[in-house]
Structure formats: C-alpha cells, structure tokens
Symmetry: none
C-alpha cells in the first residue's frame, strides 16, 4: 500500500537548517531513504550513484541555480523534480515548470503540502502499469494464468511461487524482447540485487520445469548468452 515511502528522495539545498527541516518532515511522514546535497556538484554525484526516485531542488545554490542543475540532470535521467524557492516571481515559476519540473513550491510552504505534492508525483510517476488484471496466455501446450499464478499443462496444474510469478510477469511484459539478468533481478529483489545471479538461474530452472515440455531444451523461455533471457510468445489469446 504505502510503498511510496520506500522511494529514495534527494534534497538539494545549501542551508543545512532547511535541509534538515525537510528531512524531518519526510521522515515524520514515513520516508527513510533520504539523500542530501548542498550543491549542484554533490547533487549530480548522488543522482548518478544512488539513483533517487524523486528530487527536491532549491533554486538558489552556491555553485549555480536549480534550473541549470535540472538541465544537467535531464541529460541522463528523467526523475521527477520539485523546485523549492524563496523566489516566487512569476518568471521563475514559469521557467521551472517549463524546464520540465513536476512542481514548483514557493517558500515558506506547509510541510504537509510538500509531502502531499511529493506523494502525488510519486503516485503518478511510479504507478504500477495501469493493468489491474494480469493476463492469461498460451505457451505451446501450457496455459499461464498470471492472475491466478497457475500454469496448466497436460491436465496438470502447477502453482507459481512469488518469485516465479514476478519473473514471468516481467518476462511477459517484455515478451519477444531480451530481458537482461540485471533487469530481472531488479524487478524481483529491488535496487539492491547484487549477488542474486545464481538464484535467478535456479528460479529460471523452476519456471522451465513448469512451462516447458523439456526443461533442459527450452522452447519458450530462452537463454541469450551474455545478454539475458527471452520469452517467446507465439500466439495470443
């Protein structure tokens, strides 16, 4: 339900006091993965390394302004951004929004409003793909019902476990295309997926045992050496 609060937020603000204040607001609302930056330079480093899910940018910064920073960030990332500024001038607001910011809040602001606007953005940007019903599809003789997490093949029913389900879902969303092991790991174990490569293989084997007539010579869930895996779906229901 409230997995928004698991998202990583970056606060870019040179005044330590304000930064800590915002940090406090967010933590009080349940956010815990919060990064701080006091300058454009720091912000760019954190964006590149920690890959936050949303950024709150002050417009006034010691080594440049927030607008320039946003432009720099946009060169490699599409993360949503909220501007925060003591400068409420019309042109600033228009400039900020025009550059592709997701919101522009003028100081002083209500803590709760900041959080609400942050949640609005997270909800919209990271909303689960509007498919509220998972598909049922055919793979040769196997019928995969992702909604029920059941594979049916020659009068047998095999239940999918949580990880198997997550993996098959990701593969199905990218059917016909190669999905890298990294992408698969990330969709199952989140951002911190390092070291799960072998586990992934074991899960793939389990999936193959359920969907493939001959798991060791797969027809549908193919390995693409050096690149990843690919799910071949020939016909759709």
């Amino acid at each position: 339900m409230e997995e928004w609060k698991q998202k990583k937020a970056l606060i870019v603000e040179d005044e330590l006091e304000i930064r800590n204040m915002i940090d406090g607001f967010l933590r009080k609302e349940g956010f815990s993965r919060i990064f701080h930056a006091g300058s454009c330079k720091e912000a760019l480093v954190i964006c590149a390394s920690d890959k936050p899910d949303v950024a709150i940018l002050d417009v006034m910064l010691p080594d440049g302004d927030g607008f320039g920073l946003l432009t720099s960030i946009r060169r490699f990332s599409q993360i949503p951004v909220i501007f925060l500024s003591a400068r409420g001038e019309d042109e600033d607001r228009l400039l900020g929004l025009g550059l592709g910011a997701d919101d522009y809040i003028v100081k002083p602001f209500l803590p709760r409003e900041l959080v609400l606007r942050l949640l609005v953005i997270l909800r919209r940007v990271y909303a689960p793909p509007k498919i509220d019903r998972l598909p049922v599809f055919q793979l040769g003789d196997s019928t995969i019902d992702l909604e029920a997490a059941i594979v049916t093949r020659d009068h047998h029913e095999y239940a999918l476990t949580a990880k198997e389900h997550a993996l098959l879902r990701k593969l199905y969303e990218n059917r016909g295309r190669i999905v890298t092991s990294d992408a698969l790991c990330q969709s199952v174990w989140g951002d911190d997926y390092y070291g799960y490569e072998n586990t992934l293989m074991v899960h793939m084997r389990r999936i193959r045992e359920k969907i493939e007539p001959c798991p060791s010579t797969p027809e549908y869930l193919l390995t693409v050496r050096g690149l990843g895996y690919k799910l071949l779906v020939k016909e759709e229901l």
Copy 2:
C-alpha cells in the same frame, strides 16, 4: 510530439466569464477538445459520457464544492484533476491534494502557469511507458531486431551474440557515418581495448555472415580502409 494537445480537457466552473477565459488560454496553447460544465451535476455527466483526460475543477460550485465532486468522480474514474480556487487557505489546499488532486492552483493565476502545470500532469499520466527501446531496422533483405537480438533473412533467423549485438548497436547509432575501430573496440571491451583489433575483425566477419547476402562482398557493413567501418541503412521501419 505535442500530442498532449489532442487530449480532452474538462473545465468545471460556474462563472461563465472565467470558464471562457480558461477555455481561451487552452485553445491559444493548442488544445481543441475542451468540455465545459457549470455544476457538479453537469460535470459528472460529461465525465461519464465524454471521458475527458484531465479535469480542471473550481472549488466553489452552485450545487456543491469541488471536493465533493472529486470524491464522486473518483468512484468511477482515476482521471487527473487540477483544483482552481479563490480560496487559498492552507486547509483547502491540503484537503484538495489529500483527496487525490494532482495540483491545486490559487486564483488569480498566470494563464501560462495553468497550461504548464496541465502539461506536466498530462505528460506524467499519459507518458508512453518509457521507451528506451532499441530499434528494429531493415538492411536490404535482412531485418535486424536489436531488442530481440535476431537477424531475419530469407526465412532464416540468426541469433546475435553479445559482442555482435554490442557492435551492431554502436554501428547503428552511428549509421551512415564511419566508426573507427578504436571506437568500436571501446564500446565492446571498455577503455582497455588494446590488442583486440583482430578480434574485432573476426566479429565483423560473423556479423556479415548474418546480415549480408554475400559476406565477402559486403553491401551494408562496409570497411573503410585505414579509418574503420560504416553501416549503410537505406530505409527505416
């Protein structure tokens, strides 16, 4: 490009003058499919029948307030909503945002800001599921699908290996231009690519065997003696 402006917008506002003003702003910005409602009742009817893509709601309405209206709309639709209000009180803003509005703009407002915020929301909500997808392109009789890492040529499918894929990708990104051997090596083996020139040739040969009708007299993947290689792409899919 600007397909946002094809989206259907609904303006709910009882004062005809303001409604027309907003309508004018939107039309000036390129919007053309605009619906009007002067009351909650009308608004609900239009939401149900015309299914607008975004709604701009005044908070003060003759037969109820915008908050109640939003609640009603949410019972059957998740369309994004912007509140527009002369009442800038903190509690109103928090209430509006808390109910699930996407923005809350206080009158008087800048026309351009309204439009920008509208665009931000449309972009956010109706953004095509981020397309960082690799291309599919044609090379004479061969179809190269980088996403699936497959080359199709006279009813045969040739799978691309990891290195071949990386090289073709780099070549495609620079299609029509010469790519130096150094650049190709670097994109495959990283900065420390010294000594891989011959290996590169072997890979190029293998790619040619998959994409060229006659690998020894290449038509598409050309050698530019002393400089590098060039991929000729005539037509795009």
